[in-house]
């Protein structure tokens, strides 16, 4: 996955620039740049953001609060890079391009990927707001909650990683089945996240008198934001199943 990601980032960003070359073939220009490699490149960057958020949550659980602003800055920077890739795709996704997938669907997939990175950034920023400790007996369910959320995103990323195979097999057949089964796994993981999230929130409500209003509110916002991750991942998986050719 990593080698592939570096390969994609290494791709030269041309197409509009080709006009400057001396010999531009019209037949060659007939072939636009496929948006699917770019979507994969964007998703790789988003996955990196979410991985960095995981590191920030590690530090948070270990109460290394001084490291958190650094992580937040780094995730912000990575999110910005993802935004640049997103803008690049939007600029290249010309209206005159005819693609195997509707342009609006490509844009929807893109914006869902983008909101994953935004959510990761929001989580990291929320962590810097106030130094709160995870209550000792809720540590386990919080750990489950965050790792399952990350798993959701990873699964969605693995679907995006299959996009080039999907293009190759014409969006149908066994590859489409594979994507659909991956999407079901995402939906299932999202359900699991919901279950542990409710458990964790119940735990927070159980100690609403012990926590200060600020802490309580921050916990609510944090859990809510973190749960956005799995919801968006599920929507992303759904959006991709929409483009499949199913019997």
């Amino acid at each position: 996955m990593l080698s592939r990601a570096s390969l994609r980032t290494g791709m030269k960003a041309e197409v509009p620039g080709t006009e400057g070359r001396t010999a531009v073939s019209t037949i060659g220009k007939l072939f636009g740049r496929s948006p699917f490699n770019l979507l994969q490149r964007h998703m790789d960057q988003v996955a990196r953001c979410v991985a960095k958020m995981g590191e920030a949550l590690d530090a948070f659980e270990q109460q290394k609060f001084d490291d958190l602003p650094g992580f937040a800055r780094e995730v912000s920077r990575m999110e910005h890079e993802a935004d640049q890739i997103r803008d690049d795709i939007r600029n290249h996704l010309l209206r005159r391009f005819f693609m195997p997938v509707d342009r609006s669907q490509v844009l929807r997939i893109l914006s869902q990927q983008d909101s994953l990175a935004d959510t990761a950034e929001d989580v990291c920023v929320l962590l810097t707001m106030k130094s709160i400790r995870v209550p000792e007996d809720l540590k386990e369910s919080f750990g489950k909650f965050r790792s399952l959320s990350a798993k959701c995103v990873d699964l969605a990323a693995s679907i995006i990683d299959e996009l080039d195979e999907l293009v190759e097999t014409g969006f149908g057949g066994a590859e489409a089945e594979k994507i659909r089964s991956l999407a079901h796994q995402v939906a299932f993981a999202e359900h699991e996240v919901d279950v542990v999230e409710h458990e964790f929130v119940r735990g927070i409500y159980a100690r609403d008198t012990e926590l200060s209003p600020g802490e309580f509110h921050l916990w609510m916002r944090l859990t809510h934001t973190l749960s956005q991750l799995s919801n968006t991942a599920e929507n992303l998986a759904d959006s991709i199943t929409m483009v499949l050719d199913m019997k």
Binding site: F97, E168, G173
Partner: protein, 503 residues
């Protein structure tokens, strides 16, 4: 008919003007052939380079060999004085009397020069235009000013013009169908590699039959004329079908034999692979059981917990055993099979192209040459072997000097094309050429037009990542202006020549 030294001895004393015009004819013929090599061939070979089926060097070699052999071995030995009988050149005598041969020669020089110029502009602007249309336009332009608009057979011109609307549509539809069939029979399968290996002999059979047909009716069509045979006679049709199916069967068994010798690289055993639905159903069952567990308590809760544990283990095992065979490595193996098919198709297309389109350059060349040498104007002109050689050399030179650069740019820009897509496009183009040559009304098609249409067809079958429709519009526009542009250039050149020669 073929006279190696040229034509029958000159009927009239050749003057200095004659020699200048003869030199000009040779030069312009070479110029036109050079441009045919630079423009047309590149478009036909570019897809093979773009899909990675052929390297640039190999593509140039393949194109050179097949274009040249097509042009010289079967290139038309009898050329119509005016390509596609756009007008009757014998009418020139009514208008110009004894000057008619000179006028015809000037007209042919102007036409060759006009077609060459237009092709050069098109290559420079990298428009994929038809060489046939360029020369037809040029000859029509000459006919209009030399004879008058009313003596040009406009229904023929109309039919040729219709070719650029009908042929891309036809080849697009065929490409759509071919690609859909390949998708359904290979890429949709659980194990595309195995499916591709199973289908490959049948595809080879079909390809060889179609390509034999193309060769018989298009590639070798000048030979039919040469020996005065009718390719549509029942005997000839049966012979063609027989040879085609025999070759197809040879290909069928050869492919089977080659495939049986090369076993695929199998990652893990495929025998115990489960259907994807199995793991999905198990996943669904797990989800429902979890809901049951969440909403119940007591005995039911405990029991569902137990079953859930078993289900989870089953699901895990099922997921591990589910095989799709659609990993990029396996898809690459499928594409490898298509590489050979694409190369095969490209060779035949180049051969058919060389044998037919060389006439665009040497037809007018021979006509003008004969008019000057014999001082007569006739409907048909014999084509000496040296003229065919000039055409072949011109095409190959064009390919070597400019065409390879065009192939390179085309190839570099269409890397999104895989061998399976490239094969579909070229195969559809070949089928269209075959259909067009066997159809009773003889629809004139251009390799370029059919190929562009076929690429679009594959795109509409969800085969290509992104197609630029604005470029499509530009391509159509360049097709539309080819005939008028050729005509206009020809008129200008003809008047200049007329003034210079003084007729």
């Amino acid at each position: 008919m073929i006279d190696l030294l040229g034509f029958a001895p000159a009927a009239v004393e050749l003057t200095g003007t004659h020699y200048v015009l003869l030199g000009l004819i040779l030069f312009t013929g070479l110029f036109a052939a050079w441009n045919i090599g630079a423009n047309d061939v590149a478009n036909a070979m570019g897809t093979s380079v773009g899909s990675g089926a052929l390297t640039l060097k190999r593509a140039v070699i393949v194109a050179a060999v097949f274009e040249f052999s097509g042009a010289v071995i079967v290139g038309s030995n009898v050329a119509e004085t005016v390509r596609k009988k756009m007008f009757d050149p014998e009418k020139l005598t009514d208008f110009y009397g004894v000057d008619a041969p000179m006028v015809l020669a000037c007209g042919m020089i102007a036409s060759l020069l006009a077609a060459g110029t237009w092709l050069m502009i098109a290559t420079w602007k990298s428009w994929p235009v038809s060489t046939t249309h360029s020369i037809v336009g040029a000859v029509v332009g000459f006919g209009c000013v030399a004879l008058g608009v009313e003596l040009v057979d406009w229904s023929k011109v109309g039919l040729i013009t219709a070719g650029w609307v009908v042929s891309p549509l036809l080849s697009g539809a065929i490409a759509y169908a071919v690609f859909t069939v390949i998708l359904k029979s290979i890429f949709y399968k659980r194990d595309p590699v195995r499916a591709a290996r199973q289908q490959a002999p049948y595809i080879v059979f079909l390809v060889l039959v179609v390509l034999c047909g193309v060769t018989a009716y298009k590639g070798l069509s000048p030979l039919w004329d040469k020996y005065d045979l009718d390719p549509f006679e029942p005997k000839a049709v049966l012979l063609t079908i027989g040879v085609a199916s025999a070759l197809g069967l040879v290909g069928f068994f050869a492919t089977k034999w080659i495939l049986s010798k090369n076993k695929p690289i199998v990652s893990g055993s495929k025998d115990q692979m489960l259907h994807a639905d199995v793991s999905r159903s198990l996943g669904k069952a797990m989800m429902h059981l979890k809901r049951v567990r969440a909403n119940t308590d007591g005995k039911l809760n405990d029991e569902s917990m137990q079953v859930l544990g078993q289900l989870e283990a089953m699901h895990k095992a099922a997921v591990e055993q589910t095989g799709y065979g659609t990993d990029s490595d396996e898809l690459k193996q499928v594409e490898k099979i298509f590489v050979y098919l694409q190369i095969l198709t490209a060779c035949f297309v180049a051969f058919a192209h060389g044998s037919n389109d060389v006439a665009n350059a040497i037809g007018p060349l021979s006509a003008g040459w004969q008019a000057l040498q014999t001082n007569t104007v006739s409907l048909k002109a014999g084509v000496p072997l040296w003229a065919l050689a000039i055409g072949g050399v011109g095409i190959v030179t064009g390919l070597a000097t400019w065409g390879w650069r065009v192939i390179k740019t085309v190839g570099e820009q269409i890397t999104e094309l895989t061998p399976s897509r490239g094969f579909c496009a070229e195969f559809a183009a070949a089928i269209t050429i075959l259909l067009a040559s066997v159809l009773p009304f003889g629809l004139p098609v251009s390799t370029t037009h059919t190929l562009v249409g076929a690429v679009l067809g594959v795109g509409f079958a969800r085969g290509i990542g992104a197609l630029n429709l604005k470029t499509m519009r530009n391509i159509f526009a360049s097709w539309a202006i080819t005939i008028p542009a050729g005509a206009l250039l020809s008129v200008v050149y003809f008047y200049i020549l007329k003034i210079c020669v003084g007729i």
